[in-house]
Symmetry: C2
Subunit: 205 residues, 2 copies
């Protein structure tokens, strides 16, 4: 009887191995040889599941996003208004080891996406998903009257920019951008738009 | 008579070649072989001036920063208060081809700095310089009464985060984050802190 191979499981193992190698060596140093060795499978098996290094990297990125997606949905399920918005922001900056790993993977992809159209287009589709959740959370908070009126698209673009920028800074300058500092900065930005803030200390856009 | 070699000039040529190769191939694909070919010198000459690929990359980063530094100093020379702050922000997001190239180099370095301590420490020293200029410009604008009171360190961290995040988004999603949009977003953020904004539409931190 031939050995039964669970292809989905094996694909997942290879993709997990790729992620670990990227985190350790950088996306630059993550060769297919190292990924195969890390996974415990041969380079031949690896090439059966993935056409190229970029193919493996994209799978790792998609898997990371799917983990984030599930965690975020669970976190937001019982939250509304301003609290949901704050929860979204806290969960998308690298406060915990898990988010630090995700951010590292993301930043590694950015530099590669700059010179690879195929990676860029997939990353765009993926990041549009987050941006839409953020936009939805902002609009819902406005509808509840917990966030000032104003263009929610501008607020979403500003917050998305701030979150990604702070994420980079947190990874490169962890001594300054520790958990306490990141929370303080996000709270300071959100307070500018919170209707709970005294009127002369808040703004709109 | 031996040929007289201008070493500074040659070093600069090699570093410029490195920059061009990074922008075209990504920091990943920028091999010493390609950099040597681009410069018109041999790999042997290249190795005479630089010990390693990272050594070349750091030189390219430092040169880019020195160009930005000069341009920024010239731009800020005759500006004060809120206008100086806005000028700083406009110049550090990728609105023009020159800034787009600089941002691309910077993002390429981030991913490499994540796994290379030596690159990270140099990049920190370099980026601390910008952060200090930004902080100085914020404090000066507060002293002139053109920016709301509040913790200038928090404002600087938020703006630095926003600028770097928007820079990434502008390079990855240029159709959405075009010049007009970037200016609109920066103006919206700065308006939250401008004393020229009607009082109930601005905030403090």
């Amino acid at each position: 009887m031939p050995k039964i191979v669970d292809h989905d499981q094996r694909r997942q193992q290879l993709s997990d191995a790729a992620w670990r190698v990227i985190l350790r060596e950088g996306v630059d140093g993550a060769t297919t040889r190292l990924i195969a060795r890390e996974s415990g499978y041969s380079a031949g098996v690896l090439s059966h599941y993935f056409e190229s290094k970029d193919d493996i990297l994209l799978e790792a990125l998609r898997n990371a996003h799917s983990v984030i997606k599930e965690r975020l949905n669970a976190l937001l399920e019982h939250k509304t208004g301003f609290e949901a918005l704050r929860t979204f922001c806290y969960d998308t900056v690298p406060l915990q080891a898990e988010q630090i790993r995700e951010t590292q993977l993301e930043i590694s992809f950015w530099s590669r996406a700059l010179v690879k159209e195929s990676l860029r287009s997939v990353q765009l589709t993926e990041s549009a998903y987050w941006h839409n959740i953020l936009l939805g959370v902002i609009i819902a908070a406005q509808e509840l009257g917990e966030l000032v009126e104003g263009d929610p698209f501008i607020m979403a673009d500003i917050l998305a920019g701030l979150i990604d920028g702070l994420s980079v800074h947190a990874l490169l300058i962890p001594d300054h951008y520790d958990e306490k500092r990141l929370i303080k900065l996000i709270d300071a930005q959100l307070a500018l738009w919170s209707t709970a803030t005294p009127k002369d200390q808040r703004g709109s856009v």
